[in-house]
Point group: C2
Chain length 303, copies 2
């Protein structure tokens, strides 16, 4: 195994690239734009040029590079085949082969959410654990499942799509996926705003005005929203735990900026719903932020 590896996080707007040693130290990181024109055909050549440029710039011997891992925003199977990455304009493409051919280095691709989970396990909130769940609470709810130190890709690359666990019957609004009552509809940033709007609408006009004046009432409303959010997410994570029995559950994404109190609200309801054999799972905050993707991608090629 070489001394270095690259981790690439391919997003719809920018590509983040990191140069790592095999212990998980990031030695360099930078970004290039994602050029989506011509059905995204320039993306992989751009990445190859960036990586080869860095190898030349740092005068690294190519045999000292173990390989290049890459997280892609779409389903990726175990052979590195991406089946439709709409954000990139891609159809079906074997990233391992195409990028590997351009670089003449081993390449391994994975779904970006799953790859981020691998990063948090390697160097972030799940460090030292080999059975982990990452729940990324952003605009939507994404996730990644690690079993025995490896990402769960699933049969068609849809492993870890935890945002679409059906968590509530009788939900009138539709989720982005077309379903009704998905976890994402309550536990994402958007979902929390929806919960808040519903609570406000259910409150009389009079009490809303009063609430705006009385700090206590506002605080009570905020707490009620947090409890409801915690109930939905705790219930969803409890279901996941009955499947894979994680040692640690890592909470990431924009919502996790709320800090440790988030873990408290979620853990309370997790313990209410979970099977006793899985109740010892620890709740941790993600620590790598937007870098989780490059860490996880780098780790992909070290496996």
């Amino acid at each position: 195994m070489g001394k270095y590896c690259f981790g690439v996080d391919l997003g719809g707007t920018t590509v983040k690239i990191g140069l790592f040693d095999t212990e998980g130290t990031v030695l360099d990181k930078w970004e290039i734009p994602t050029r989506k024109e011509d059905s995204g055909s320039k993306i992989l050549p751009d990445i190859a040029q960036a990586v080869l440029g860095k190898i030349a710039e740092r005068q690294i011997a190519k045999e000292d590079v173990t390989g290049v891992g890459i997280g892609v925003p779409g389903p990726v199977d175990d052979n590195g085949v991406v089946h439709m990455a709409v954000n990139l304009g891609w159809g079906i493409i074997n990233v391992n082969e195409v990028l590997g051919g351009l670089l003449q280095l081993p390449v391994r691709a994975g779904n970006d959410a799953n790859v981020a989970a691998l990063g948090e396990m390697w160097c972030g909130g799940g460090k030292g654990c080999s059975d982990m769940v990452l729940a990324t609470l952003g605009t939507g709810v994404g996730g990644g499942i690690i079993v025995n130190g490896k990402m769960v890709t699933g049969a068609t690359g849809a492993g870890g799509e935890i945002g679409h666990i059906h968590i509530k019957d009788d939900e009138p609004d539709a989720c982005g996926c077309g379903g009704h009552g998905c976890l994402e509809q309550y536990a994402s940033a958007t979902g929390i705003a929806r919960l808040a709007n519903r609570k406000l609408a259910a409150t009389t006009q009079d009490s809303v005005l009063r609430a705006a004046k009385e700090r206590g009432a506002v605080s009570a409303l905020a707490c009620a929203i947090a409890e409801e959010f915690g109930d939905y997410l705790g219930k969803g994570l409890a279901a996941i735990a009955c499947v894979v029995n994680p040692e640690v559950i890592v909470l990431g994404g924009g919502v996790s900026k709320a800090g440790e109190i988030l873990c408290e609200y979620v853990a309370k309801y997790y313990k209410k719903y979970v099977f006793h054999g899985c109740s010892n799972a620890q709740f941790k905050l993600a620590t790598l932020g937007n870098d989780a993707g490059i860490y996880g991608a780098a780790k992909l090629v070290l496996e």
Copy 2:
């Protein structure tokens, strides 16, 4: 690798043992009683004697035996340590070491439900697949998850405890685990009987009597129960699919004797609740019956 292996299914009353070739053909199978006295201390010596006796009887060279796998009714970690198997009177015991020491052969232990899933993947309803969920619908609901061809044990051996996924709020009755609203309360044989009793109780005395006379009404009631059962189980399996994205979902246990119609009822609701990326999972019936445990145990030592 040797030509033979043994699979042991350790139950609370009997121990089933199978001699297999490494292709999955069972060459011999038999049972011995489970002697639970003295805190179950006779169980592993009895098994060792039975296996060594068979090796001698068949004049098999010991170096032709790859090893002995064993399914145990309790949580088993990746090192073969059983943490309390109440049915056997066991506390904490390292089965790999103790049975391996007695046999002077490699031994690998796993939880019985997880091991049964491995068996169905190797030679049963999930043959040819490497991402599989087994739901065993008996007195309770057990399960086993296979990811990339391997059992998901989890951090504390509670992987695949799918019977305790919380599936319904406002359930007044308690599950055996102490929870309320577990999948097992609706999708096990006992759970189906409960659903039926509730429906009957909700019917007026008059209409019950009428139903008993009119075959059509009885049939309508049975269909309503089957739909409700399918809804709960389909919802639970859809949640599992969002985590591990299986290629096939195998239904086993006593309830699966209903046949293919069971798959139809469950698949209908599965498709209603599941994320579209996971909707292609196939539903199959388990085919190994009570032998799934010995098949899976044998497969454990071939990995």
